[in-house]
Amino acid sequence: MHPAYSVIFFTTASGAGYGLLILAAIFAVGGLLPATSLLGFVVVGLALGLIGGGLLSSTFHLGRPERAINAFSQWRTSWLSREGVLAVATFLPAGLFGIGWVFLGKTTGFFGWMGVAAALLAGATVIATSMIYASLSTIRQWNLATVPVAYLGLGLMSGAVLLAVVTRLFGVHTPAVDVVAIASIVIAWGVKLAYWTTIDRLQPTSDLGTATGLGRFGAVRLLEQPHTEANFLMHEMGFVVARRHARRLRSLAHVALFALPLMLTVAALWAPAVTAAVMAVGAVGSLAVGLLVERWLFFAEARHDCMIWYGR
Protein backbone atom coordinates (compact mmCIF):
# COMPACT_ATOMS: atom_id res chain seq x y z
CA MET A 1 0.00 0.00 0.00
CA HIS A 2 1.21 3.47 -0.85
CA PRO A 3 2.35 5.21 2.35
CA ALA A 4 0.77 8.69 2.17
CA TYR A 5 2.79 11.13 4.29
CA SER A 6 -0.35 12.86 5.53
CA VAL A 7 -1.72 9.59 6.90
CA ILE A 8 1.63 8.58 8.44
CA PHE A 9 1.91 11.93 10.21
CA PHE A 10 -1.74 11.80 11.26
CA THR A 11 -1.66 8.32 12.79
CA THR A 12 1.67 8.82 14.59
CA ALA A 13 1.04 12.38 15.84
CA SER A 14 -2.54 11.91 16.93
CA GLY A 15 -1.64 8.50 18.39
CA ALA A 16 0.99 10.17 20.55
CA GLY A 17 -1.43 12.98 21.43
CA TYR A 18 -4.13 10.55 22.54
CA GLY A 19 -1.58 8.52 24.49
CA LEU A 20 -0.40 11.66 26.28
CA LEU A 21 -3.97 12.73 26.97
CA ILE A 22 -4.83 9.34 28.47
CA LEU A 23 -1.78 9.26 30.75
CA ALA A 24 -1.95 12.96 31.70
CA ALA A 25 -5.58 12.49 32.72
CA ILE A 26 -4.81 9.37 34.76
CA PHE A 27 -1.82 10.97 36.49
CA ALA A 28 -3.53 14.31 37.12
CA VAL A 29 -6.74 12.75 38.39
CA GLY A 30 -4.71 10.32 40.48
CA GLY A 31 -2.91 13.23 42.13
CA LEU A 32 0.50 12.31 40.70
CA LEU A 33 0.76 15.60 38.81
CA PRO A 34 0.32 19.00 40.47
CA ALA A 35 -2.72 21.00 39.30
CA THR A 36 -0.57 23.95 38.31
CA SER A 37 -1.64 26.17 35.46
CA LEU A 38 1.48 26.19 33.26
CA LEU A 39 2.02 22.43 33.52
CA GLY A 40 -1.62 21.83 32.59
CA PHE A 41 -1.31 24.24 29.67
CA VAL A 42 1.78 22.48 28.30
CA VAL A 43 0.56 18.92 28.85
CA VAL A 44 -3.02 19.31 27.62
CA GLY A 45 -1.93 21.82 24.96
CA LEU A 46 0.71 19.43 23.62
CA ALA A 47 -1.76 16.53 23.57
CA LEU A 48 -4.52 18.48 21.85
CA GLY A 49 -1.99 20.11 19.50
CA LEU A 50 -0.69 16.71 18.37
CA ILE A 51 -4.24 15.39 18.01
CA GLY A 52 -5.49 18.46 16.14
CA GLY A 53 -2.41 18.68 13.93
CA GLY A 54 -2.75 15.01 13.07
CA LEU A 55 -6.46 15.30 12.29
CA LEU A 56 -5.81 18.37 10.13
CA SER A 57 -3.06 16.51 8.30
CA SER A 58 -5.41 13.59 7.63
CA THR A 59 -7.69 15.88 5.64
CA PHE A 60 -4.85 16.59 3.19
CA HIS A 61 -5.21 12.98 2.14
CA LEU A 62 -8.77 13.67 0.93
CA GLY A 63 -9.70 14.54 -2.62
CA ARG A 64 -12.42 16.90 -1.34
CA PRO A 65 -11.34 18.09 2.13
CA GLU A 66 -14.01 20.81 2.10
CA ARG A 67 -16.63 18.08 2.41
CA ALA A 68 -14.91 16.37 5.37
CA ILE A 69 -17.98 16.99 7.55
CA ASN A 70 -19.81 14.29 5.55
CA ALA A 71 -17.52 11.73 7.18
CA PHE A 72 -19.34 12.00 10.53
CA SER A 73 -22.54 10.49 9.20
CA GLN A 74 -21.94 6.75 8.71
CA TRP A 75 -20.75 5.66 12.17
CA ARG A 76 -23.15 2.69 12.05
CA THR A 77 -21.01 0.83 9.55
CA SER A 78 -17.76 2.69 8.93
CA TRP A 79 -14.72 2.65 11.22
CA LEU A 80 -13.45 5.79 9.49
CA SER A 81 -16.66 7.58 10.38
CA ARG A 82 -16.54 6.22 13.96
CA GLU A 83 -13.00 7.51 14.26
CA GLY A 84 -14.11 10.98 13.15
CA VAL A 85 -17.03 11.05 15.58
CA LEU A 86 -14.91 9.80 18.50
CA ALA A 87 -12.07 12.20 17.67
CA VAL A 88 -14.38 15.20 17.78
CA ALA A 89 -16.25 13.87 20.83
CA THR A 90 -12.94 13.57 22.71
CA PHE A 91 -12.33 17.32 22.38
CA LEU A 92 -15.32 18.18 24.60
CA PRO A 93 -14.29 16.43 27.86
CA ALA A 94 -10.60 17.01 27.01
CA GLY A 95 -11.25 20.73 26.62
CA LEU A 96 -13.19 20.91 29.90
CA PHE A 97 -10.48 18.89 31.65
CA GLY A 98 -7.89 21.34 30.28
CA ILE A 99 -9.92 24.37 31.37
CA GLY A 100 -10.24 22.96 34.89
CA TRP A 101 -6.52 22.27 35.09
CA VAL A 102 -5.20 25.46 33.45
CA PHE A 103 -7.66 28.14 34.60
CA LEU A 104 -9.15 26.75 37.81
CA GLY A 105 -6.27 24.65 39.09
CA LYS A 106 -8.63 21.72 39.52
CA THR A 107 -8.10 18.15 38.32
CA THR A 108 -10.57 16.49 40.65
CA GLY A 109 -14.35 16.35 41.03
CA PHE A 110 -16.21 17.29 37.85
CA PHE A 111 -12.96 18.10 36.01
CA GLY A 112 -11.51 14.81 37.15
CA TRP A 113 -14.47 12.98 35.64
CA MET A 114 -13.96 14.96 32.43
CA GLY A 115 -10.37 13.72 32.46
CA VAL A 116 -11.55 10.14 32.82
CA ALA A 117 -14.07 10.60 30.00
CA ALA A 118 -11.39 12.17 27.78
CA ALA A 119 -9.04 9.25 28.47
CA LEU A 120 -11.71 6.67 27.62
CA LEU A 121 -12.74 8.45 24.42
CA ALA A 122 -9.09 8.93 23.44
CA GLY A 123 -8.48 5.19 23.78
CA ALA A 124 -11.61 4.46 21.76
CA THR A 125 -10.46 6.86 19.02
CA VAL A 126 -7.07 5.14 18.69
CA ILE A 127 -8.80 1.77 18.46
CA ALA A 128 -11.21 3.15 15.82
CA THR A 129 -8.24 4.41 13.78
CA SER A 130 -6.58 1.02 13.92
CA MET A 131 -9.82 -0.74 13.01
CA ILE A 132 -9.95 1.19 9.72
CA TYR A 133 -6.97 -0.95 8.75
CA ALA A 134 -7.66 -4.09 10.77
CA SER A 135 -11.18 -4.45 9.33
CA LEU A 136 -10.00 -4.72 5.70
CA SER A 137 -10.08 -8.36 4.63
CA THR A 138 -8.36 -7.35 1.38
CA ILE A 139 -5.01 -6.71 3.11
CA ARG A 140 -3.79 -9.70 5.08
CA GLN A 141 -0.98 -7.77 6.81
CA TRP A 142 -3.62 -5.47 8.34
CA ASN A 143 -6.51 -7.85 8.96
CA LEU A 144 -4.99 -8.95 12.29
CA ALA A 145 -5.88 -8.64 15.99
CA THR A 146 -2.35 -7.39 16.73
CA VAL A 147 -2.99 -4.22 14.69
CA PRO A 148 -5.32 -2.46 17.19
CA VAL A 149 -3.14 -3.64 20.08
CA ALA A 150 -0.05 -2.20 18.38
CA TYR A 151 -1.73 1.14 17.65
CA LEU A 152 -2.90 1.49 21.24
CA GLY A 153 0.43 0.30 22.63
CA LEU A 154 2.47 2.66 20.46
CA GLY A 155 0.15 5.57 21.28
CA LEU A 156 0.46 4.97 25.03
CA MET A 157 4.19 4.47 24.73
CA SER A 158 4.76 7.73 22.86
CA GLY A 159 2.46 9.51 25.33
CA ALA A 160 4.44 8.12 28.28
CA VAL A 161 7.80 9.21 26.84
CA LEU A 162 6.38 12.69 26.13
CA LEU A 163 4.98 12.93 29.66
CA ALA A 164 8.40 11.95 31.06
CA VAL A 165 10.03 14.84 29.18
CA VAL A 166 7.49 17.43 30.26
CA THR A 167 7.51 16.37 33.92
CA ARG A 168 11.32 16.35 33.97
CA LEU A 169 11.53 19.79 32.38
CA PHE A 170 9.01 21.11 34.93
CA GLY A 171 10.80 19.44 37.81
CA VAL A 172 7.63 17.59 38.83
CA HIS A 173 8.89 14.23 37.73
CA THR A 174 7.68 11.10 39.45
CA PRO A 175 9.22 7.65 38.79
CA ALA A 176 5.71 6.30 38.14
CA VAL A 177 5.84 8.03 34.73
CA ASP A 178 9.03 6.15 33.89
CA VAL A 179 7.58 2.87 35.10
CA VAL A 180 4.63 3.37 32.73
CA ALA A 181 6.99 4.41 29.92
CA ILE A 182 9.25 1.40 30.39
CA ALA A 183 6.32 -1.02 30.68
CA SER A 184 4.58 0.39 27.61
CA ILE A 185 7.80 0.31 25.53
CA VAL A 186 8.38 -3.34 26.49
CA ILE A 187 4.76 -4.25 25.71
CA ALA A 188 4.64 -2.34 22.41
CA TRP A 189 7.97 -3.87 21.37
CA GLY A 190 6.62 -7.33 22.10
CA VAL A 191 3.44 -6.62 20.13
CA LYS A 192 5.36 -5.31 17.11
CA LEU A 193 7.71 -8.31 17.25
CA ALA A 194 4.69 -10.60 17.28
CA TYR A 195 3.16 -8.59 14.40
CA TRP A 196 6.27 -8.81 12.23
CA THR A 197 6.68 -12.52 12.97
CA THR A 198 3.04 -13.08 12.06
CA ILE A 199 3.12 -11.23 8.74
CA ASP A 200 6.34 -13.01 7.73
CA ARG A 201 4.54 -16.33 8.12
CA LEU A 202 1.24 -15.29 6.52
CA GLN A 203 0.30 -17.21 3.43
CA PRO A 204 -1.92 -15.53 0.83
CA THR A 205 -5.45 -16.94 0.89
CA SER A 206 -6.04 -15.97 -2.73
CA ASP A 207 -3.99 -16.39 -5.88
CA LEU A 208 -4.52 -15.99 -9.61
CA GLY A 209 -6.16 -19.42 -9.69
CA THR A 210 -8.89 -18.53 -7.19
CA ALA A 211 -9.15 -14.94 -8.42
CA THR A 212 -9.85 -15.87 -12.02
CA GLY A 213 -11.49 -19.21 -11.18
CA LEU A 214 -9.20 -20.71 -13.83
CA GLY A 215 -7.07 -22.62 -11.35
CA ARG A 216 -9.07 -25.75 -12.23
CA PHE A 217 -7.37 -25.77 -15.64
CA GLY A 218 -3.86 -25.58 -14.22
CA ALA A 219 -1.41 -22.86 -13.32
CA VAL A 220 -2.51 -19.34 -14.25
CA ARG A 221 -0.07 -16.60 -15.19
CA LEU A 222 -0.53 -13.09 -16.47
CA LEU A 223 0.16 -12.87 -20.18
CA GLU A 224 -0.80 -9.26 -20.79
CA GLN A 225 -1.98 -6.62 -18.38
CA PRO A 226 -4.90 -4.45 -19.46
CA HIS A 227 -2.93 -1.23 -19.80
CA THR A 228 0.63 -0.29 -20.56
CA GLU A 229 1.02 2.46 -17.95
CA ALA A 230 0.41 2.27 -14.21
CA ASN A 231 -3.16 3.16 -13.20
CA PHE A 232 -4.65 4.34 -9.89
CA LEU A 233 -4.72 0.82 -8.47
CA MET A 234 -1.06 0.23 -9.19
CA HIS A 235 -0.05 3.59 -7.72
CA GLU A 236 -2.21 3.18 -4.61
CA MET A 237 -2.05 -0.55 -3.89
CA GLY A 238 0.99 -1.72 -5.84
CA PHE A 239 3.63 0.14 -3.84
CA VAL A 240 6.83 -1.93 -3.87
CA VAL A 241 9.69 0.48 -3.10
CA ALA A 242 10.04 -0.22 0.61
CA ARG A 243 9.70 -3.98 0.56
CA ARG A 244 13.24 -4.33 -0.71
CA HIS A 245 14.49 -2.35 2.29
CA ALA A 246 12.05 -3.80 4.81
CA ARG A 247 14.67 -5.74 6.79
CA ARG A 248 16.94 -2.72 7.22
CA LEU A 249 14.00 -0.46 8.10
CA ARG A 250 12.74 -2.95 10.66
CA SER A 251 16.17 -2.97 12.30
CA LEU A 252 16.07 0.83 12.36
CA ALA A 253 12.63 0.69 13.98
CA HIS A 254 13.86 -1.77 16.62
CA VAL A 255 16.69 0.59 17.56
CA ALA A 256 15.06 4.01 17.21
CA LEU A 257 11.54 3.17 18.33
CA PHE A 258 12.19 0.69 21.11
CA ALA A 259 15.80 0.02 22.15
CA LEU A 260 17.09 3.61 22.43
CA PRO A 261 14.02 5.13 24.15
CA LEU A 262 14.01 2.15 26.55
CA MET A 263 17.71 2.50 27.41
CA LEU A 264 17.46 6.28 27.80
CA THR A 265 14.36 6.07 29.99
CA VAL A 266 15.96 3.45 32.24
CA ALA A 267 19.28 5.36 32.44
CA ALA A 268 17.47 8.63 33.23
CA LEU A 269 16.15 7.04 36.43
CA TRP A 270 19.64 7.17 37.96
CA ALA A 271 20.97 10.26 36.19
CA PRO A 272 21.17 13.74 37.72
CA ALA A 273 18.15 15.94 36.93
CA VAL A 274 19.66 17.88 34.00
CA THR A 275 21.21 14.82 32.36
CA ALA A 276 17.96 12.95 32.86
CA ALA A 277 16.02 15.71 31.10
CA VAL A 278 18.44 15.62 28.16
CA MET A 279 18.07 11.84 28.02
CA ALA A 280 14.28 12.14 28.04
CA VAL A 281 14.42 14.63 25.15
CA GLY A 282 16.71 12.22 23.30
CA ALA A 283 14.22 9.42 23.88
CA VAL A 284 11.45 11.50 22.30
CA GLY A 285 13.62 12.37 19.27
CA SER A 286 14.58 8.76 18.72
CA LEU A 287 10.99 7.61 19.20
CA ALA A 288 9.71 10.13 16.64
CA VAL A 289 12.10 8.82 13.98
CA GLY A 290 11.32 5.22 14.89
CA LEU A 291 7.59 5.79 14.86
CA LEU A 292 7.66 7.34 11.38
CA VAL A 293 9.70 4.38 10.09
CA GLU A 294 7.35 1.89 11.76
CA ARG A 295 4.24 3.54 10.29
CA TRP A 296 5.83 3.81 6.86
CA LEU A 297 6.58 0.08 6.99
CA PHE A 298 3.02 -0.64 8.14
CA PHE A 299 1.82 0.67 4.78
CA ALA A 300 4.72 -0.39 2.59
CA GLU A 301 4.65 -4.02 3.79
CA ALA A 302 0.89 -4.32 3.27
CA ARG A 303 -0.11 -6.15 0.10
CA HIS A 304 -3.52 -5.63 -1.43
CA ASP A 305 -5.43 -8.53 -2.98
CA CYS A 306 -6.36 -6.51 -6.07
CA MET A 307 -2.71 -6.71 -7.16
CA ILE A 308 -3.15 -10.47 -7.61
CA TRP A 309 -4.95 -9.73 -10.89
CA TYR A 310 -1.77 -8.03 -12.08
CA GLY A 311 0.22 -11.16 -11.29
CA ARG A 312 1.89 -9.60 -8.25
Binding site: G63, A68, S73, T212, V220, P226, L233, D305, W309
Partner: protein, 246 residues
Protein backbone atom coordinates in the same frame (compact mmCIF):
# COMPACT_ATOMS: atom_id res chain seq x y z
CA UNK B 1 -26.65 5.27 3.59
CA UNK B 2 -23.75 2.89 3.71
CA UNK B 3 -25.80 0.29 5.54
CA UNK B 4 -26.65 -2.50 3.14
CA UNK B 5 -30.27 -3.09 2.14
CA UNK B 6 -32.06 -4.92 4.98
CA UNK B 7 -33.53 -7.48 2.63
CA UNK B 8 -32.07 -9.05 -0.48
CA UNK B 9 -32.89 -6.78 -3.45
CA UNK B 10 -35.92 -7.92 -5.45
CA UNK B 11 -33.91 -7.64 -8.63
CA UNK B 12 -30.23 -8.52 -8.74
CA UNK B 13 -28.88 -6.99 -11.93
CA UNK B 14 -25.49 -8.07 -13.16
CA UNK B 15 -23.45 -9.54 -15.97
CA UNK B 16 -22.61 -13.06 -17.02
CA UNK B 17 -19.23 -12.88 -18.74
CA UNK B 18 -18.33 -15.75 -21.02
CA UNK B 19 -14.61 -16.48 -20.86
CA UNK B 20 -15.05 -19.04 -23.62
CA UNK B 21 -16.02 -16.53 -26.26
CA UNK B 22 -14.25 -13.37 -25.09
CA UNK B 23 -11.63 -12.50 -27.70
CA UNK B 24 -9.88 -9.84 -25.65
CA UNK B 25 -10.62 -7.00 -28.06
CA UNK B 26 -11.18 -4.38 -25.33
CA UNK B 27 -14.31 -3.10 -27.11
CA UNK B 28 -16.28 -3.40 -23.83
CA UNK B 29 -13.70 -1.26 -22.01
CA UNK B 30 -13.60 1.33 -24.78
CA UNK B 31 -17.34 1.64 -25.16
CA UNK B 32 -17.70 1.78 -21.37
CA UNK B 33 -15.31 4.72 -21.25
CA UNK B 34 -17.15 6.37 -24.14
CA UNK B 35 -20.61 6.07 -22.61
CA UNK B 36 -19.69 6.81 -19.03
CA UNK B 37 -17.53 9.82 -19.73
CA UNK B 38 -20.75 11.47 -20.91
CA UNK B 39 -23.01 9.80 -18.35
CA UNK B 40 -23.76 10.42 -14.67
CA UNK B 41 -20.20 9.55 -13.65
CA UNK B 42 -18.65 11.69 -16.35
CA UNK B 43 -16.22 12.95 -17.22
CA UNK B 44 -13.93 9.97 -16.65
CA UNK B 45 -10.83 12.13 -16.56
CA UNK B 46 -7.39 11.28 -17.92
CA UNK B 47 -4.05 12.69 -16.85
CA UNK B 48 -1.30 13.13 -19.49
CA UNK B 49 -3.76 11.70 -22.01
CA UNK B 50 -1.43 12.29 -24.95
CA UNK B 51 1.93 11.92 -23.22
CA UNK B 52 3.98 9.38 -21.34
CA UNK B 53 2.69 8.12 -17.99
CA UNK B 54 -0.93 8.64 -18.98
CA UNK B 55 -3.51 7.30 -16.56
CA UNK B 56 -7.18 7.80 -16.12
CA UNK B 57 -10.45 6.37 -14.92
CA UNK B 58 -11.71 3.20 -16.56
CA UNK B 59 -14.49 0.99 -15.22
CA UNK B 60 -13.51 -2.04 -17.20
CA UNK B 61 -10.09 -3.62 -17.65
CA UNK B 62 -9.37 -6.64 -19.84
CA UNK B 63 -6.62 -8.94 -18.55
CA UNK B 64 -5.12 -11.78 -20.54
CA UNK B 65 -3.95 -14.91 -18.78
CA UNK B 66 -2.21 -18.08 -19.85
CA UNK B 67 -3.61 -21.17 -18.18
CA UNK B 68 -2.28 -24.70 -17.75
CA UNK B 69 1.21 -24.21 -19.11
CA UNK B 70 3.30 -21.81 -21.13
CA UNK B 71 3.36 -21.29 -24.88
CA UNK B 72 1.82 -24.09 -26.93
CA UNK B 73 0.87 -26.09 -23.83
CA UNK B 74 -1.18 -23.28 -22.33
CA UNK B 75 -4.46 -21.73 -23.34
CA UNK B 76 -5.05 -18.02 -23.55
CA UNK B 77 -8.01 -16.70 -21.59
CA UNK B 78 -9.09 -13.09 -21.79
CA UNK B 79 -10.59 -11.85 -18.56
CA UNK B 80 -12.59 -8.60 -18.53
CA UNK B 81 -12.86 -7.24 -14.99
CA UNK B 82 -15.30 -4.65 -13.72
CA UNK B 83 -17.48 -4.11 -10.65
CA UNK B 84 -19.42 -7.28 -9.83
CA UNK B 85 -22.06 -5.44 -7.75
CA UNK B 86 -21.48 -7.75 -4.79
CA UNK B 87 -24.19 -8.74 -2.36
CA UNK B 88 -21.73 -8.21 0.49
CA UNK B 89 -19.85 -5.12 -0.67
CA UNK B 90 -17.39 -3.96 1.99
CA UNK B 91 -16.67 -0.96 -0.29
CA UNK B 92 -20.11 0.33 0.72
CA UNK B 93 -20.00 -0.30 4.46
CA UNK B 94 -16.54 1.27 4.95
CA UNK B 95 -17.64 4.55 3.32
CA UNK B 96 -17.71 7.25 6.03
CA UNK B 97 -19.92 9.69 4.10
CA UNK B 98 -22.84 7.70 2.74
CA UNK B 99 -21.62 8.40 -0.80
CA UNK B 100 -21.31 4.68 -1.52
CA UNK B 101 -24.54 2.75 -1.50
CA UNK B 102 -26.18 -0.40 -2.73
CA UNK B 103 -29.59 0.12 -4.28
CA UNK B 104 -32.33 -1.87 -2.60
CA UNK B 105 -34.39 -2.10 -5.82
CA UNK B 106 -31.84 -3.75 -8.12
CA UNK B 107 -28.63 -4.28 -6.13
CA UNK B 108 -26.53 -1.86 -8.18
CA UNK B 109 -23.61 -0.38 -6.19
CA UNK B 110 -23.19 3.33 -6.85
CA UNK B 111 -21.25 6.39 -5.65
CA UNK B 112 -22.91 9.74 -5.04
CA UNK B 113 -20.16 12.00 -6.37
CA UNK B 114 -21.63 15.03 -4.58
CA UNK B 115 -21.11 13.40 -1.17
CA UNK B 116 -17.77 11.64 -1.75
CA UNK B 117 -14.79 13.19 0.06
CA UNK B 118 -12.21 11.17 -1.89
CA UNK B 119 -10.77 9.24 1.08
CA UNK B 120 -10.25 6.20 -1.19
CA UNK B 121 -11.06 3.74 1.62
CA UNK B 122 -13.69 2.02 -0.56
CA UNK B 123 -11.01 1.17 -3.11
CA UNK B 124 -8.95 -0.36 -0.31
CA UNK B 125 -11.92 -2.52 0.66
CA UNK B 126 -12.48 -3.97 -2.84
CA UNK B 127 -10.49 -7.14 -3.62
CA UNK B 128 -11.47 -6.88 -7.28
CA UNK B 129 -9.86 -3.49 -7.87
CA UNK B 130 -13.14 -2.31 -9.34
CA UNK B 131 -13.06 1.26 -8.08
CA UNK B 132 -10.87 3.89 -9.66
CA UNK B 133 -10.19 7.27 -8.12
CA UNK B 134 -10.68 10.35 -10.29
CA UNK B 135 -7.74 12.49 -9.21
CA UNK B 136 -8.89 15.48 -11.27
CA UNK B 137 -12.32 15.62 -9.63
CA UNK B 138 -11.12 14.28 -6.26
CA UNK B 139 -13.86 11.65 -5.97
CA UNK B 140 -14.14 7.90 -6.38
CA UNK B 141 -15.70 6.46 -9.52
CA UNK B 142 -16.96 3.01 -10.40
CA UNK B 143 -19.04 0.96 -12.80
CA UNK B 144 -22.70 1.95 -12.58
CA UNK B 145 -23.90 -1.00 -14.66
CA UNK B 146 -24.86 1.90 -16.96
CA UNK B 147 -27.75 2.80 -14.67
CA UNK B 148 -28.29 5.86 -16.89
CA UNK B 149 -28.69 3.63 -19.95
CA UNK B 150 -30.49 0.50 -18.81
CA UNK B 151 -33.50 2.46 -17.52
CA UNK B 152 -33.35 5.21 -20.16
CA UNK B 153 -36.83 5.62 -21.65
CA UNK B 154 -35.42 7.74 -24.47
CA UNK B 155 -33.55 4.77 -25.87
CA UNK B 156 -35.12 1.94 -27.88
CA UNK B 157 -35.69 -1.04 -25.60
CA UNK B 158 -32.99 -3.16 -27.25
CA UNK B 159 -30.40 -0.49 -26.42
CA UNK B 160 -31.20 -0.53 -22.70
CA UNK B 161 -28.21 -2.71 -21.84
CA UNK B 162 -24.84 -1.68 -20.38
CA UNK B 163 -22.43 -0.18 -22.91
CA UNK B 164 -19.97 -3.06 -22.49
CA UNK B 165 -22.68 -5.58 -23.39
CA UNK B 166 -23.81 -3.55 -26.41
CA UNK B 167 -20.26 -3.33 -27.75
CA UNK B 168 -19.16 -6.94 -27.37
CA UNK B 169 -18.64 -8.39 -30.88
CA UNK B 170 -18.44 -12.00 -29.65
CA UNK B 171 -21.51 -11.89 -27.41
CA UNK B 172 -19.38 -12.74 -24.40
CA UNK B 173 -21.26 -10.35 -22.12
CA UNK B 174 -24.83 -10.96 -21.01
CA UNK B 175 -26.88 -8.59 -18.89
CA UNK B 176 -29.87 -9.46 -16.78
CA UNK B 177 -31.56 -10.20 -13.48
CA UNK B 178 -29.95 -12.97 -11.45
CA UNK B 179 -32.96 -13.05 -9.09
CA UNK B 180 -35.13 -14.28 -11.99
CA UNK B 181 -34.39 -17.98 -12.59
CA UNK B 182 -35.72 -17.66 -16.15
CA UNK B 183 -33.45 -14.80 -17.19
CA UNK B 184 -30.73 -15.46 -19.76
CA UNK B 185 -28.01 -14.79 -17.22
CA UNK B 186 -29.52 -17.19 -14.67
CA UNK B 187 -29.95 -19.92 -17.26
CA UNK B 188 -26.44 -19.45 -18.63
CA UNK B 189 -25.02 -19.53 -15.11
CA UNK B 190 -26.90 -22.75 -14.35
CA UNK B 191 -26.01 -24.43 -17.66
CA UNK B 192 -22.39 -23.43 -17.85
CA UNK B 193 -21.44 -23.51 -14.19
CA UNK B 194 -21.08 -19.76 -13.77
CA UNK B 195 -18.91 -18.92 -10.80
CA UNK B 196 -17.72 -16.16 -8.48
CA UNK B 197 -14.14 -14.96 -8.81
CA UNK B 198 -12.23 -14.93 -5.48
CA UNK B 199 -15.14 -16.62 -3.67
CA UNK B 200 -12.99 -17.04 -0.53
CA UNK B 201 -13.28 -13.30 0.13
CA UNK B 202 -16.98 -13.71 0.90
CA UNK B 203 -18.12 -10.64 -1.07
CA UNK B 204 -20.70 -12.73 -2.98
CA UNK B 205 -20.53 -11.07 -6.40
CA UNK B 206 -23.82 -10.77 -8.28
CA UNK B 207 -22.14 -11.00 -11.68
CA UNK B 208 -20.78 -14.36 -12.74
CA UNK B 209 -18.08 -15.69 -15.03
CA UNK B 210 -18.81 -18.56 -17.39
CA UNK B 211 -15.76 -20.85 -17.60
CA UNK B 212 -14.00 -21.63 -20.89
CA UNK B 213 -15.28 -24.86 -22.46
CA UNK B 214 -12.86 -27.80 -22.49
CA UNK B 215 -11.81 -26.94 -26.04
CA UNK B 216 -10.68 -29.05 -28.98
CA UNK B 217 -7.38 -29.83 -27.39
CA UNK B 218 -9.28 -31.94 -24.85
CA UNK B 219 -10.19 -34.28 -27.74
CA UNK B 220 -6.59 -34.42 -28.96
CA UNK B 221 -5.76 -38.03 -27.90
CA UNK B 222 -8.65 -39.45 -29.97
CA UNK B 223 -7.63 -37.39 -33.00
CA UNK B 224 -4.06 -38.61 -32.68
CA UNK B 225 -5.24 -42.23 -32.64
CA UNK B 226 -7.31 -41.67 -35.78
CA UNK B 227 -4.34 -40.05 -37.52
CA UNK B 228 -2.12 -42.92 -36.46
CA UNK B 229 -4.39 -45.47 -38.12
CA UNK B 230 -4.14 -43.52 -41.37
CA UNK B 231 -0.45 -44.26 -41.78
CA UNK B 232 0.22 -45.35 -45.31
CA UNK B 233 -3.02 -43.86 -46.64
CA UNK B 234 -2.75 -41.62 -49.69
CA UNK B 235 -3.49 -37.92 -49.82
CA UNK B 236 -7.04 -38.53 -51.12
CA UNK B 237 -7.94 -40.92 -48.29
CA UNK B 238 -6.57 -38.51 -45.74
CA UNK B 239 -8.75 -35.77 -47.26
CA UNK B 240 -11.80 -38.01 -47.09
CA UNK B 241 -11.01 -38.87 -43.50
CA UNK B 242 -10.68 -35.20 -42.60
CA UNK B 243 -14.01 -34.34 -44.22
CA UNK B 244 -15.81 -37.21 -42.52
CA UNK B 245 -14.39 -36.57 -39.06
CA UNK B 246 -15.61 -32.96 -39.09
Amino acid sequence: MTSLPATRPEKRLGLAIDLDTCVGCHACATNCKEWNTGGISGPLTDVNAYAAEQHGVWFNRVFTYEVGGEGEAGRTVHFPKNCLHCENPACVTVCPTGASYKRSEDGIVLVDHDKCIGCKLCSWACPYGAREYDEVQGVMKKCTLCVDKIYNQNLPEEDRVPACVAACPSKARHFGDFADPNSTVSKLTAERGGYDPMPEKGYRPTSKYLPPRPGRRGAAPAATAATASLEGAGRFLKWVDRILTR
